[in-house]
Amino acid sequence: MNDITALERGYRRILACYPRSFRRENEDEVLGVLLATAAEGQVRVGLDEAWDLVRGAMRMRLWPAAPRPRAVRAAVTLMLAGAAAELATMITVVVTSGAVRAAVAARYPAAAHGVMVHLAIDMAAAPLAIGMWLWLAWANGKGDDWARMISAACFGLVTLSVLAALAQDAAIFAPADLTGAAVVWAIGLVSVVLIFTPAAGRYYRPQLARQ
């Protein structure tokens, strides 16, 4: 009897790698099969069966079986494109910052300091924005409902900040800067619309239902 509980404990430890939703529904059943297929008097989990279980857990986490609706797949792809757009913008800013600094200093000496602060804030925020896009792509792909809400909130913030920037100092926006902002905003708009379509809505579940 002691042997069985030790083996069962070993199996349970490995099954802990599986997604919570799978475990809730199947752990007991899988454990039954594992114990039924265990050799007579087996005390420890075999290396090959441990590997088989871990591999299954990895596959389930990386490629969830729940089929993603086309709208969600498209939204995830767009969010990855959003991260790429942010990266491209960041590289452009880094590459051109010298030229921008010189041009601003020559033409608008009074605004130079403000523009440089603006650029510095952009540079600091860019990695954050890229990380946010990637994280939202991942979380929306999983179908977490809170990710959908956060996506909508982020899009609202981006819209407000673009509007505020346009209202305040549209004059100093370079065409490249405006184009970048417009592309990112459009990607945000389309991806948020996609994840709120009825087809996508059926895919999303409250956080506790899946993990």
């Binding site: 799978f22 199947n26 007991d28 039954g32 099969v33 088989d52 299954g56 079986a65």
Partner: protein, 107 residues
Amino acid sequence: MQEATFLILTALADGSQHGYGIITEVAQISGGRVRLRAGTLYTALDRLRADGLVAVAGEEIVEGRLRRYYRLTPEGTAVLAAEAERLHANAAAALARLRPGLAGGLA
């Protein structure tokens, strides 16, 4: 389709089975060559259920443990039939080329 998936669907083709039953059926079908492990079986079942090829046929408690029975859906039956046809046609073509004189015996 992976061989494990094909054999799981085949094991369910003539009636519902529980997890352990599928493992023994697959061993029998493959002549003892394929010994499905629990991780492989349940990862495949998870996907097959999500894809609508396999469904839960019923549950019972045996010796204090949940035992769940699985069955093919009509879609699962169709997919298995199509895959079997494809493998059969490929195998027939291979054998026909290897032994031209014996090709007729396969049909």
